[in-house]
Amino acid sequence: MSEPRAATEAPVPGRVVRAAGAIVRAAGLAPSVGEVVLVGERRLFGEVIRLEEGVATVQVYEETAGLCVGDPVVATGRPLVAWLGPGLLGTVLDGLERPLRRLAETEGPHLAAGGAGDDDRAAGDRPVGIDAHRRWTFTPLRRPGDRVGPGDVLGEVQEGPIRHRVLAQADLGPAVVLELREAEATVESAVGLLECADGRLQPVRLASPWPVRRPRPVARRLPVERPLVTGLRVLDMLFPVAEGGAAVVPGGFGTGKTVVEQSLARWSDVDVVVYVGCGERGNEVAELLATFPSLADPRTGGALLDRTVLIANTSNMPVAAREASVQLGMTVAEYFRDQGLRVALLADSTSRWAEALREIGGRLEELPGEEGYPAYLASRLAAFYERAGRAVALGAPERTGSVTLVAAVSPPGGDFSEPVTQASLGLGGALWALDTELAHARHFPAIGWTQSYSLYLDALEPWYAANVDPAWPRLRTAAMETLARERKVLDVVALVGADAIPESDKVVLAVARLVREAFLRQHAYDPVDAARPPAVQVALLRAVLAADAGLRAALDAGATLEAALASPVLAELARANAWSGEDVLARLADLERRVADLGAAGGTGAEARAVAAAGAETPGATGPGMAEVAGTAAAGAGPVEAAPEGSA
């Protein structure tokens, strides 16, 4: 990061020669590509995206209504930066890092163009997103005379549950600490001084700027080794994403993308959550703001908002800033990664960002690629996804942090063959495909098991073996096989009818139904069921899968399937996902035993027959018939493949 240009140097003036929507062309400037410029009398915030023959093309991040040809354009000499430091947590920022809650107090409930346009902000010389008046207690960890290098920890500041480490700037060469003192300081005031090798003096401040489009450097990248524990059974048990990995969540509207993202924001086992609402709904941001302060962080017990940074560039806010919002989110996430923290970056939705690229590209009259998207769509997405990862941060002492990316995609018409989904699939290591048919059947989370996948299974197996259950790979395979066999059996049922299939196939349908309804389905708003620890998840999975052996044994022992299915043990199993308390693991283990023993209990058929007889007496208690089992199964799993055409 170079020092800001001296204030005495006059800015280079330019003039607007052309304006259409968010794109302005200016002559008479000599800026660099990526430089921030101030456009018009209202000093609208813009960024140079193209230079040709003395004309700079600028994308303007604010509403351009009223702009005239001949209006002034001023270069700032700075790229678009994010200010990073204490005070970020719990804030709500727009795509340009403006503090929305503070703006709501000072500027009224609507966002006016140029409203917060003080020149310091625009020039990137002063922090805006973080409170410049608040004082923090800075504790130095190095002494005068110490030699420091880029990324070295100079001192600490505590913010709520998070300890910010104040780092030597990443583009700093070797330097010597001249001064470093304990202080009650604002993010702007100097708490120390470094002398660089070339004799330049560098003040130490609690916050520093970083260009949002430049990945923050690391000492070295690390391979993934543990999952991002989400508390969602379908994700943690079937399609886990690794910490430092990337998951793609495509889904038509109404399939629950936002609910999944918000569940992750609430329950993910990470230190910091950065949530980017990019081109999405304002009321959703309002909901997060209304609920997060009162929700407890499952890890620290503090308010969830205290470990969260919200970035909101809603769909009605200027389109160019959407693109900046995801880059800002990634830069903030990287900042916390460099502190040695585990960060989840939740981006909802990357399609809106891609559409912003398309809109800007269209105004630039670029030759379009597929569906009007610019030809560089895939490379832009790739550059973004590759910023996620696990890494050892630059500098001493050694710190390991990670950024896990969960990117929602909104395919038009729910059609996954569209360019943004396809480009994202090649970049993410896990696909959580949201399925319209499941959503219509109110099976939530509506993550379809036929299309979804995780490429992290092998890498994560040792972690699961050591921390959850060594049998996890086998259990996962058994669950996936049951669901796959259900589809095959249903194909047969569709041809010959439910009565004509063998008993063993009926067992498959019954077990698959249990997997879907008692295990995969999870209520996002239920206080107990919303998120479960992996140990409880795997115990429930074991109990559900035990039904296969249990039902077969019961058949072998001479019971009818209807009678076996009516067993109260299975009714208990259907509600076991709501069990909580300290003995939950023991109870689930006991339940697993009793489910597996369905045959033994009914060895003489006594229990099963008694139940069946009771059912026959009471009209309301008939056991579930086969067509019904098949029927709901079809609603849940049948049309998954048909979803791309028939859904949304």
Binding site: L100, G254, G277, G414, D415, G631
Partner: protein
Amino acid sequence: MRLSSVRQLGVDRIAGPIVVLRRVAGMGLDEEVLVVGPGETRHGRVLELSGDLAVVQVYEGTFGLEVGSTGIEPTGEPFRLGVSDAMLGRVFDGRGRPVDDGPAIVADRVLDVGGAPMNPAARDHPVNFIETGVSAIDLLASLVRGQKLPIFTGPGLPASTLAARIAIGARLPGDERFVTIFAAMGVTRREADEFRDAFSSSASVERIAVFLNLADDPVIERLLVPRCALTLGEHLAFGLGLDVLVVLTDVLAYGEALRELSTAREEIPGRRGYPGYLYTDLATLFERAGRLRGRPGSLTVLPVVSMPDDDITHPVPDLTGYITEGQIVLSRDLHGRGIDPPIDVLPCLSRVMNAGIGAGRTRAEHRLVADQLYASYARGCELRRLVTVIGEAALSPVEQRLLAFADEFETRFVGQGRARRTLDETFEAAWAVLRRLPRSELRRLPDDVLDRAYPEPR
């Protein structure tokens, strides 16, 4: 409004709704200009400035304009609408000029119809249940104050009637009622009359303002209609503290007008010829719905969206669904069977419903009853399909009852006819059909709810 004396004579090019002319000094983007042709003055908006030229869209179309004699007068401002609560009970054209016999409007405020985006941090979380009187909506896809909930419809389905019933029937606790703004974009005179008749017959006519751009009115003016309606809505809601419902119909016609303009500008098209910015443009309309923290009043938006060929994946309904907070979907099948209103419950959704229902707002068991109705109806529908393969005789007794339940659910619960139902009546209707099922089938309902509502022994 500053009326400049500068008038420039002669335009360079006329193409569709677009004229290209020599720029007048000081002309700004989005500025309103007067386009003076032979015998009439039209209105335009500056879309693009480039060197000496300006590109202007003409709301009334360019038919009859000539290259040589057309004059342009800048106004120095974007298009602004004078708003007042005296506009309730009145009828306006697409630019907000009265077209009924009433007096001229004395404006309380004059506002830029483009609006400014609401700061998301200034929004209040929508949590107040609106009782619309339509069972399928109130119980299964509840409308909440400040929500945007579209009605997806097809040609020939009674969406306007449903929208009118919601607008007239909507009540807040304490029996507070809504004022309605009806923005007609490219609908037929018959549809617009039907809507207004519904209001006249319910004596609510003084609670509605109507902006009309009918099917034979200038196409590009359609881009202005919803903005006028929403600007008045914002004034009534956030300026005067009223609860306002804005009905925008038909969003498809709006999208087509945008496409026409985009094509005339020779922009690169996105899906099906619609411009790539259709999503953003629609969002600038629908996102004006909401509530503001610390202020009374609310703006609730009900867009009516036609699906060509009943195709929900068409870009206009598709993008609408991504912006709005759920959707109400009408079904041709139910309409054909005489079920009124013909709401297809399965694809219906209200995203903000959970915050608006439950103990203290509607009923503690609201969510569970809704889930149970959905689940049982979904299974009933699935069994219908199965029956076509294996025959009804192959079903178990319970399954036959599920089939019957699905029929009753449609005819008795959804098909309530013209009558308005209170929430109590809606719950009664729900239990009346749920009791057709054996208690053991109602697996999503806990015992305490079943004990209260289910007289039958276990």
